[in-house]
């Protein structure tokens, strides 16, 4: 296959916290399969707790898989021993959400940016590492003189640039961006998104862009995956997803995005009553059934599987074939 990265039935579980008597496990990522091609920008959108960050971390082997396989360039990598996987880390990198947390407060920016080179490019001398770090800082729009400063002296936007520099310094082929702009000010978010887009173009990087903000994901990524409670519910090209979503949850996400024309109009409270969906991940049927305006009996009983519906679209919904032109705005 020409896929750079491929996930097959990947599942990640955690022991639930809480009273010792409920020994529950939470399935954070539930039977997820998809492929990512070389140079592709794939978006993953979903709300908090849906498992999208966990998925990103699983790809980078920060959490173990409970089931499933991950393939890189055709070879299986989830069962590699630690040393062999470490060599692979040169190709797979991660941009974290909160730059204040993902940079060691006791190291200078320059040291943090250069750090991956120590393990992943051992042939370089110290001055070569410093030089590379300076070059990367320049590439992300930070003055190289700032390399000797500490994280607390920077704003969030500048720090995030440094985090991106650190991810790129080893010349990876795939960068997973886990909510890279969510912790930043609104007026600065666009800068970082534009930076990521530019870098991706210039370097031909493949990227998995994870976010809860569908407007950003739709503007940036050619293909979008929608995730709900650990499961992928829809995959489609942006051009078809936005005008004609096939999954009711996608429709809900689209409706939640502010629209220019509606900004001045007074909103009326939605009729929906809040539903207790804390135990949904153990639900037998469709995870979204409890909130879905189109749910039927079968939705509560049987779990829908991701089905291809033509033109590369996949949807996990029992009723998706009933609205081939997409769901209209509620």
């Amino acid at each position: 296959m020409s896929e750079l990265l491929e996930l097959r039935a990947v599942t990640v579980r955690f022991a639930a916290q809480g009273r010792a008597s409920d020994a529950r496990t939470i399935t954070a990522v539930d039977d997820v399969s998809f492929g990512l091609a070389t140079g592709e920008m794939l978006g993953l959108v979903g709300e908090s707790g849906c498992g999208k960050s966990t998925l990103g971390r699983a790809i980078l082997r920060l959490v173990p898989l409970a089931a499933g396989e991950i393939h890189w360039q055709g070879r299986r990598i989830d069962d590699l021993d630690r040393r062999r996987f470490r060599n692979l880390r040169r190709e797979l990198q991660l941009v974290f959400q909160d730059p204040h947390a993902s940079l060691d407060p006791r190291m200078t920016i320059g040291e943090s940016v250069a750090e991956p080179l120590r393990a992943l490019a051992p042939g370089l001398s110290r001055s070569q590492r410093t030089e590379r770090a300076a070059a990367l800082l320049d590439e992300v729009g930070l003055a190289p003189e700032l390399a000797d400063r500490y994280p607390h002296q920077f704003s969030g936007g500048q720090l995030q640039r440094a985090v991106i520099a650190r991810a790129l310094i080893v010349d990876p082929r795939l960068v997973v961006c886990d909510e890279p702009v969510s912790a930043l000010d609104m007026s600065v978010q666009g800068q970082i998104v534009n930076l990521l887009a530019r870098i991706r173009r210039e370097r031909g990087l493949a990227s998995l862009f994870i976010s809860h903000n569908l407007a950003v994901v739709a503007g940036l990524c050619e293909r979008v995956m929608v995730m709900y409670v650990g499961r992928i519910v829809e995959i489609a090209a942006r051009a078809s997803l936005v005008p004609a979503p096939l999954h009711p949850y996608t429709r809900m996400l689209l409706d939640a995005v502010p629209r220019l024309d509606a900004l001045a109009r007074r909103r009326t409270a939605t009729a929906g009553r809040a539903v207790n969906y804390t135990t949904v991940s153990a639900a037998r049927g469709c995870a979204f059934a409890a909130r879905c305006p189109h749910a039927l009996g079968i939705c509560h009983a049987e779990r829908p599987v991701l089905q291809p519906l033509g033109q590369g679209r996949l949807v996990a919904c029992h009723r998706a074939s009933e609205w081939p032109g997409g769901l209209r705005k509620l």
């Binding site: 920060l62 991660l94 974290f96 060691d104 006791r106 190291m107 750090e115 991956p116 393990a119 080893v170």
Partner: protein
């Protein structure tokens, strides 16, 4: 090791603003200097016996500012020597407990799982042993000397440090910059040395400052019991023991070393507390 630049400087500045902390530091510095060079400047040697002036009160005789003991030895000189011995043992034992405790705790906390459980079980077992008995046994086996005492105290001193460091390391392990280092290919050794340890130095330094007075007290107690430093060497502990015996007839023999001990312990405790406040600002 490059410390978090501004973070340490801020702490120092806060500390400098705390007048009581500065006073404690000054007193400690003075005592250290006195212990180090004092005996060289004074006329009397610590074993030197002044046959004419046995058990004289302070300032009663010229030259013996703090008086003399039962055997006519100058109390000031003996006290300074005692201070030297007590402080040396305390600082050395604290250093050992720092190195051993930090490495043990950091590794256990970072590796978690079975390794952590095993390592902390060792700590738990040692913790449960009665320290005094152990010291006695060690003294019997190895003979009485400052070195034995140091070994005995060090054997237990690192335990609490290890527990504290392990707790800190467990928390630090969850921080995102550790994940970032893992993604950057760093091995466990580098992560512990470069990311975990530097970030827990704050509480460790504070704890170490508070450990020193504890060790001094333990050493003094053991010497008081007769297990620690022995005559003719002086330590604050055995000076206090001698002084206690003569409490009614020559109270200064107790007052001087005891006062010294109290001052020492107080200053270290105060400094440690102030360090903790300085390193842990409530406002960002």
């Amino acid at each position: 090791m490059s410390a978090g630049g501004g973070l340490w400087r801020d702490a120092l500045r806060r500390l400098a603003g705390n007048r009581a902390a500065l006073a404690s530091a000054a007193v400690l510095a003075l005592m250290c200097t006195a212990a180090a060079v004092g005996p060289l400047l004074l006329d009397y040697r610590q074993e030197q016996i002044d046959w004419d002036h046995m058990a004289v009160a302070p300032l009663a005789v010229e030259g013996h500012w703090f008086g003399t003991d039962r055997l006519g030895r100058d109390l000031l000189v003996r006290t300074l020597h005692g201070l030297r011995v007590s402080m040396s043992i305390a600082l050395l034992a604290t250093l050992v407990s720092l190195v051993l405790g930090v490495s043990w705790g950091a590794v256990a906390g970072y590796l978690r799982g079975r390794t952590d459980a095993l390592m902390m079980r060792v700590v738990d077992v040692l913790y449960a042993l009665p320290q005094v008995f152990f010291v006695i046994i060690l003294t019997v086996v190895l003979g009485r000397s400052p070195a034995t005492l140091l070994a005995a105290i060090s054997a237990f001193g690192w335990l609490t440090m290890a527990r504290i460091v392990r707790g800190q390391a467990l928390a630090l392990r969850e921080r995102e910059f550790v994940d970032a280092a893992i993604v950057g290919g760093a091995g466990s050794a580098r992560i512990v040395a470069r990311h975990i340890v530097p970030n827990l130095l704050g509480p460790v330094i504070v704890f170490a400052t508070l450990t020193v007075p504890q060790v001094i007290l333990v050493e003094s107690f053991l010497s008081f019991l007769g297990i620690g430093i022995q005559e003719p060497l002086a330590s604050l502990g055995n000076l206090i023991a001698d002084g206690a015996a003569e409490m009614e007839t020559a109270p200064w023999m107790l007052a001087v070393p005891a006062g010294c001990l109290v001052l020492l312990v107080f200053c270290f405790n105060f400094l440690g507390d102030s360090l903790r406040d300085a390193l842990d600002p409530r406002d960002h």
